[in-house]
């Protein structure tokens, strides 16, 4: 047997250990430490941390396609939002007759907009299992169809990034429409309970925080299984020399579509876990800016490292929380500045730089190529 890369390497163990400790400590400090004591973690913070973890899962999903396959998706927020909407639809159905208008079937916004019956695509969302399936299937199917068409037509690089951006923008415009039957501008909100737990309750808040942590760990492991296998090696080969893989008999479009689809499902799960913690999902989640922010998290943490993506998401969002509290107007400048600084001085991101310095030559060679400031790409395998 050829020596295989371990499924969980050293940085993976550190990541999982820190994540486990975090997911254990926060609930304990929330539930057991008495309020008012210095150790107590208030419930709103638990949800804030849960939100970070959902973002971290989104970042890992983006890193799977960007870091290992060279697909710079500027529309990953779309898959996140679709997963969020699927969860939101379930939560809306759970409200039942407790809405303002007291309609046992129709959500408030439908009563308000004079809907007479539930649109067909809302059927089934009163069942958690069905909604959970849709959290995976809707983003997955969209990514599969979109990816298949784009990759088969050999759309790559900047052009692919632009159409992913267009995808999320188009979805945003579509979801803004009231006719879409998904709450239009206001989206879905005023949730009451999930699987019988009140979404406001402390138990639920702690529970979903832990669930998000578990989902992040699982998402990381799925991405690892994919990237350390022969499949992952071919994915990296496609990233670095796509046309060469064709002459070896591989069909890069198949490899890319699979990674893109799995990644979109992972993003969907992140969105589904995010929505109950923030209490709302609206078309703003499709905004192109959100997807670009995700790219920045991954760039800061380090592309092609998975752990770095999660770390970048948590760090940048923590900085966002702090900074928007102190100087709300400065955040976008800080974010833009951060991206410029990372691109110029830390092109491999935080974790990528550590691997480059201390990880050994073999690990460093696997990292994605540094971003080109002035791209002068020569098509691989182009004989003169």
């Amino acid at each position: 047997m050829t020596p295989r890369t371990p499924l969980i390497d050293r940085k993976g163990w550190i990541f999982l250990a820190v994540l486990a400790a975090f997911c254990l400590a926060v609930p304990v400090l929330n539930l057991a430490a008495p309020e008012g004591s210095g150790l107590h973690v208030p419930t709103y913070l638990v949800s804030l941390f849960g939100k970070y973890l959902a973002y971290a899962l989104l970042a890992v999903s983006l890193d799977l396609v960007w870091g290992y396959c060279g697909i710079l998706s500027l529309g990953h927020g779309a898959f996140f939002a679709l997963g969020g909407y699927a969860m939101g639809m379930y939560l809306m159905r759970q409200i039942g007759a407790r809405g303002v208008y007291g309609n046992p079937v129709l959500p408030d916004f439908m009563v308000f907009l004079n809907y007479k019956a539930l649109p067909w695509y809302w059927y089934g969302f009163d069942h958690f299992a069905f909604a959970g399936l849709m959290v995976l299937l809707v983003p997955g199917l969209l990514a599969f169809v979109f990816g298949w068409l784009a990759f088969r037509s050999r759309v790559t690089g900047v052009y692919l990034s632009i159409i992913t951006q267009a995808l999320t923008y188009a979805l945003m415009l579509a979801f803004f429409r009231n006719d879409m039957g998904l709450g239009g501008n206001n989206g879905l909100t005023d949730f009451k309970d999930l699987l019988g737990f009140s979404v406001q309750s402390q138990t639920f808040r702690v529970g979903i925080f832990v669930a998000t942590g578990v989902a992040l760990a699982l998402g990381y492991l799925v991405a690892r299984v994919m990237t350390v296998s022969a499949y992952g090696k071919i994915l990296i080969a496609v990233r670095d020399a796509e046309s060469r893989t064709r002459f070896l008999g591989y069909r890069p479009e198949h490899f890319k579509t699979l990674a893109f689809t799995v990644s979109a499902m992972m993003a969907g799960v992140a969105g589904a876990l995010y929505v109950p913690q923030v209490g709302i999902i609206n078309p703003g989640e499709f905004a192109p800016g959100n997807s670009i922010e995700t790219v920045i998290w991954v760039a800061v943490g380090g592309r092609g490292t998975l752990v770095g993506a999660a770390l970048g998401a948590v760090l940048v969002n923590y900085a966002k929380t702090v900074l928007t509290g102190v100087m709300p107007d400065a955040w976008l400048f800080a974010l833009g500045g951060l991206f410029v600084i990372v691109t110029l001085f830390l092109p491999r991101g935080l974790v990528g730089t550590v691997i480059e310095r201390f990880g050994g030559r073999r690990a460093a060679a696997k990292l994605p190529p540094e971003p080109e400031i002035a791209p002068e790409r020569v098509e691989q395998g182009q004989g003169a």
Binding site: M1, S229, A230, A241, S243, F247, L248, R361, A365, L367
Partner: protein, 266 residues
Amino acid sequence: MSTDLLERPDAARGPANRKRETEALLYLDDLRVTFDGYKALRGLSLTLARGELRAIIGPNGAGKTTMMDCITGKTRPDSGIALFDGSHDLLRSDEPAIADLGIGRKFQKPTVFESHTVADNVLLALKGPRAAFASLFGWRNRVERERIDALLETVGLLAHRDRPAADLSHGQKQWLEIGMLLAQDPKLLLVDEPVAGMTDAETAETARLLRRIAGEHAVLVVEHDMHFVRDLGCRVTCLHEGAVLAEGSIDAVSADPRVVEVYLGR
């Protein structure tokens, strides 16, 4: 127009689409390629037997690389016939399908997967099912180390098996690419300028290696280095302006006055 198509169905489908078969491994007939008005191939015809070693020479722009592009599906000719191994029509297949038929290619500029170790480069080239799911959990994750090492031994890179391919010298990358070709175990190897940038000793070693490979595999080598071509000791085809100018033994071809005129110089 439409009546014309109805009357001459054969012509409408084009000569390449008629059911044809070949005894030879590779059969090229009257290939024509035009790039923006420039005629890169003007009726190139060539046959290659199973297991044959053949050298292709010719001045720059003679169409050597374009010919390889046509065979591997990178370029689609305007007209002509390209058959492989019986009745496989190369002009109707794309690159992965052609690779799957058993045609491997080494590029002029060595293109190995730089991020991967030498051993992994060979692993990815190994012949076998290439579906995405098969690589996720399938056989390619359970390849015996010995199988890869045997191939690396053949191309003299065993000592470098765990180094990233990016760290190899130019000549070593050339050899790694030949090793990847061997791992593919194709019926036909297309080798574009294998000794560019190699030392004399490495060049001689490469000629020995290619002679050894031939027989089991057919090998088509494009090369400018006449010493190397002589070392190969095989039939030589000289291309000029997109067609075959001369074909025969190295002595016969290099004595041909037209070859001397356009290529070797007086």
